[in-house]
Symmetry: C2
Subunit: 542 residues, 2 copies
């Protein structure tokens, strides 16, 4: 009887897992599911264009075929996908060009597109149609999946010559719904356009209304380069994995220099002097767990140059400012961009924050609004479980003259860029509560908040001064008449002099402009909570 | 140049995916990671014992080996694991006895134990040691994983005869921390014991303090049986998948009766009469997508008996009450247990809710406390992104005389049991926002809240009456003296009579006991938001 249960022992594919747990991919709720589909193909399109150096043009069309039944067509002008990879790219989970690379991209799992193929098939029984133009060939193919094996089923129906490039995916879905809400496709694309000013995005909604979000910048942003991992935060297991696969390096010393960023010959000498017991001339694949632990321990006690900023491409100060002015036209706006840091596994990341206060924020009736982005992709869902939202909640807003964050006319934009964003689930809508990440988000928001605080306290002071001035001014007429009769001078003259004294004393501080600090004071009231050695920002070599 | 990127195309195993994204398994943060490890093995142990009909005894020991470095030993008295399956059970992801079955269990993915083996290895370089006693044999084995292949690496180091049964897993972890906080192991086990009164759990903490949570019930709860899926909510794709693999059934009609719960010959006749165009004598594997869509459409228009309650085992009214009295000793306590419902794919679930108010809740300084459980497993993390928390937020508490949920002495326990709990991620700490699920949680909380409301308004009324009585009583002495001098009767007599009149008029309603409604009025102010046909609860045949 006890053994019976082991007769039920089975092995499952990752496709079966996500088919049963599609909510983990973000397919829960009708509106959300439709937005997730557009999200997967739009992010893939943007990544493909940027990698190939093409200015992105993305078009999305959503047609209503029946109740909760839609056809979605998404095209990009990227390089397209070659025949050899088309099936796997759209019909196999955990297959792709991104998962194993240290490069800032929107996609990073190799799940999303295949997940859409799966969702289309299980809700409509239909295969997905792909038209790809790549390397002079234009292919049309019908793609579905063998879930048990997690393998694509592909049939190429047409093949012609072309000089174009790009990818169009056409698929049908049921159990989804189009809505122009905060969680719908329109808002998703609007925010994508805000964070990606170099791309043109068009949307045709089910009612045939066409909206174009045109590009406002005619050049691609600086390209995010693939980088080597940074030694800070590397764990013994990572080090051993790298060492095991390092065939081209004969010695641990050259292995360290060639595998990791910022490891110079001088730094290897530092490590050697700290670890006399380790033979750095040993072959890397002979490295033991103990060696790896000792090296990692020593790494944490060396001062390192921060990760290369080439690897990370934020939205950019001007663009965040332009976007925010555009949406809100706030009374005051502060932008903060922090230098890159690393978290677990030597993974560099950087945080940029914009805070808008008053003016249009109040007019739009926004209160405590948080706009989250990761690698410039808007995050619309799972706000409650996201490290960004959680961090903002921990901030003592009263210190910044914000009495109650949720009731003040304040909007906070946070964008985290990284070569690997730690999402809480494969649906990629919320960031995990990594300590180093949360600390850095907090510092960035606090830094921007200080600008807001100066503005609010400045305004408060200005109001106080204006009140005092008004009160004092009330006495000028009476006083100048009295003084005139005492001194025999003209009362107008005395009044004018008194007014000048008052004006001089109560200067209108409102006119002072509020600017963020030129050089962020990174360590002002910020204890290093992560317990990790400080990256010396002065050494950063951009 | 464009093709370069496709040279980087790779396929990855699910183990590599979760190794890189271990936060998706709940391994983020030091305290949380350690709690997750205990959670995985304790839930597996409880499941194994219950399936084998053994009263569970679980022991957990946590030893501190160094800074953020611990050894964890977890034993259960379950049936153990046979040699043939030991490696896969502890060293391969998506392998196990639970994923494909319709049965209420704590584990349901076949990921957790292998995830711990992985986490141990990548943080310490150590393999996991397992001692299993099963079928007369006692084995000791050392287990690790080949991440690239998602396959176990197992070495059996000892094999002897035994008459015992059970499993002990011993493993080491770094990057974790023991803490007696709301998120720590102690609290996790305390809540597990609350929801599982039939098991004895012992804990030895790093300071060698031993705590035993003894069982309070000497029999196992009713066993959760494996069931057939319920037709309501089945989607065309599910139906087709079942049909494709239905070799023993020659006709669609018998296939439907044998595959799904609650499908009688009479119900098949109902379906037939609604679908004259479909040949129900056809072989099931000849079913087309159109057939499947039509059958699913018809199923939604037939009245079905609710899913069998045998398949779902809640904590139970008495136990929730006993546990809540035990923790809080509240002024008032209302328990609600709703009959099973189904969500997507014919998956039955049921919700039980306990609400404690005042008394010990106030004394313990708890305000708006929410205790979440799924299949009797406490959920300590990701509250912000959980359907339970989200649903409770949407309730208009003022209707129930709760002015501000977060500031009142109220504690809400919600337990959702199901043959498949829709978790938001593989870390299984939050429920996805499935519409049907949220609606049902809301109804259950609202139902219980009505009991609290009656209590609060009763108390309010009682206070008002007591105040009036006091005011009126003040006049009795004066009035009885005045009346005595007017009527020549004894003032004491008049006072007594007046007091009786007052007592009669102002009855102390406080003494009325507050009880939940005997028969829940399921549709009282509850519109059927899911748009699905009502399950007729009267027909439920337990």
């Amino acid at each position: 009887m006890e053994d019976d249960v082991f007769k039920q022992f089975r092995e499952h594919s990752v496709a079966e897992f996500f088919k049963k747990n599609r909510q983990m991919l973000g397919f829960s709720g009708k509106v959300r599911s439709l937005t997730m589909i557009v999200h997967e193909f739009v992010t893939n399109g943007l990544d493909a264009c940027e990698e190939a150096g093409i200015l992105p043009e993305i078009s999305v069309q959503v047609e209503e075929l029946g109740k909760d039944h839609y056809k979605v067509t998404i095209s990009d002008n990227g390089p397209g996908i070659p025949k050899s990879h088309l099936g796997k790219a759209l019909g196999q989970m955990l297959a792709g060009t991104k998962f194993h690379r240290y490069i800032q991209q929107r996609g990073q799992q190799g799940i999303g597109a295949a997940a859409c193929t799966m969702f289309s098939y299980i809700t409509t029984g239909q295969s997905t149609k792909a038209i790809t133009s790549h390397g002079g060939k234009k292919l049309t193919a019908i793609i579905s999946m063998d879930f048990k094996k997690n393998k694509p089923i592909i049939e190429v129906t047409e093949e012609t010559d072309t000089e174009e490039h790009g990818l169009t995916v056409i698929s049908e879905y049921k159990d989804v719904r189009y809505e122009r809400s905060n969680y719908g496709i329109f808002e998703y694309l609007r925010r994508t356009a805000l964070a990606n000013p170099h791309c043109t995005i068009s949307l045709i909604e089910p009612n045939n209304e066409k909206t174009v979000f045109p590009r406002s910048v005619e050049i691609n942003p600086k390209k995010a380069y693939e980088i080597k991992p940074h030694p800070l935060g590397i764990k013994p297991h990572d080090l051993l994995e790298f060492a095991k696969h390092s065939v081209e390096n004969k010695r641990i010393s050259s292995f360290l220099q060639n595998t990791f960023a910022r490891v110079s010959a001088a730094k290897v000498e530092d490590l050697k002097s700290m670890l006399p017991e380790i033979d750095f001339n040993k072959r890397p694949d002979k490295m033991s767990w103990e060696d790896a632990e000792a090296i990692v321990g020593a790494i944490e006690n060396v001062k390192w140059i921060a990760p290369s900023t080439d690897s990370l491409v934020p939205i950019g100060r001007e663009q965040v400012e332009a976007s925010f002015r555009n949406i809100f036209n706030p009374e005051v706006l502060v932008i903060t961009q922090r230098s890159p840091k690393v978290y677990r596994g030597g993974i560099p990341f950087s945080v940029e924050v914009g805070i808008a206060y008053g003016g249009g924020v109040a007019a739009a009736n926004k209160r405590g609004e948080v706009m989250r982005f990761a690698n410039k992709v808007p995050l619309l869902f799972d706000a409650g479980g996201c490290a960004i939202t959680e961090t903002i909640k921990t901030i003592d807003w009263k210190r910044y003259n914000i009495r109650n964050f949720d009731e003040e006319p304040i909007a906070v934009l946070v964008n985290v860029v990284s070569v690997h964003v730690p999402y809480t689930s494969a649906g990629k809508q919320a960031l995990s509560s990594e300590e180093d990440l949360m600390a850095e988000i907090k510092f960035a928001v606090m830094e921007a908040s200080r600008g807001i605080q100066r503005f609010i306290s400045g305004r408060k002071k200005a109001n106080e001064i204006a009140t005092k001035k008004k009160v004092v001014s009330r006495y000028i007429e009476q006083l100048s008449n009295d003084l005139a009769s005492l001194t025999q001078r003209k009362p107008e003259r005395i009044a004018k002099e008194l007014r000048e004294i008052v004006e001089e004393k109560y200067v209108d501080t409102k006119k002072e402009s509020i600017k963020p600090p030129e050089k962020p004071k990174a360590n002002e009231d910020e204890s290093n909570e992560s317990g990790e050695p400080d990256v010396n920002e002065g050494e950063t070599n951009e």
